[in-house]
Symmetry: C2
Subunit: 177 residues, 2 copies
């Protein structure tokens, strides 16, 4: 899966995409990046992913141009989504919608709103108020009716993610800067 063309089908863009984001953990890393996670350690605590696996996934995501790694202004290492990475939002949205539909009887686990006018976004990412498809940086995400708030967050990163916030806004919770 890591190597190019592990799936034989050269004529299928689905297979091609899965070469990049089809491995275990990869899409969850991307989701966290949408939610503002940027630091190696924050991915580890949020996802409980083995550090070695995270290293390998971040490396290939950077190589594929889904993330950029830079030693950021804050002094530490940061991983951020590129435009190509942001292009995965419809994929993440579609999977979340399918999961909400078939595995969350009490309603969506997370709702998306248009940050500018507060309108609810439908499953296609279209704002109920202004009718437009909202670009990623203008989307605000918040807990929905299906969100389970018993068993509350155990770490500041999860807490930050579960608070209404705009996508891509960096998480600064644990860091007092």
């Amino acid at each position: 899966m890591t190597l190019p063309s592990t799936y034989a089908d050269r004529n299928c863009s689905l297979a091609r995409s899965l070469e990049i984001v089809g491995e275990r953990w990869t899409l969850l890393i991307v989701r966290d990046a949408f939610f503002g996670v940027r630091r190696f350690g924050d991915f580890v605590t949020q996802l409980k992913i083995p550090r070695a696996v995270l290293t390998s996934r971040l490396k290939s995501l950077v190589q594929e141009g889904v993330l950029v790694r830079d030693d950021g202004a804050t002094g530490g290492v940061e991983y951020r989504l590129t435009a190509k990475g942001e292009g995965l939002w419809p994929v993440v949205r579609a999977l979340m919608h399918w999961g909400d539909t078939f595995y969350s009887p009490s309603g969506v686990k997370r709702a998306a709103r248009h940050d500018q006018d507060g309108g609810l976004l439908d499953h296609e990412g279209r704002c109920g108020d202004c009718g437009l498809v909202i670009p990623v940086p203008e989307i605000r995400i918040e807990p929905g009716p299906g969100f389970d708030s018993t068993d509350p967050g155990h770490d500041p990163v999860s807490d930050a993610i579960n608070t209404p916030r705009r996508l891509l806004e960096p998480i600064t919770a644990s860091r007092t800067r």
Copy 2:
């Protein structure tokens, strides 16, 4: 990944979805099912997936209600998408679109049309002619400009898949019934 809740995050429908369709090969099996593949042996020849893995994937997809297994009218075993399985079409479409966008400079590898009026479907599945989102059984799929027809199909199943056809229509190519 096979077990429930291998991904810790209970409050994320993305993680929940990936429990079901996030394993290696699973979405490719689903894609083939959309393209009309129904037989064990056809999945093997089309995907070149190890038979043991296919057995295991089909079993869990049936268990999750994405596929149904029945000993069909034709006499053989058949795997078909359920409504829940058809609900994965937006996921498959989103991943194909991302792959087309970033890995297929010469254009989409497969185009989708509204079978009724011949209108091209956009990346949201909306018909350019009638403006509606087209339900899966009314979608016709055909090779697009990015399709590589050198290195032609080596097996009748691939040939059938690469011929314009409606989704879900069973492949009967190799079988002379």
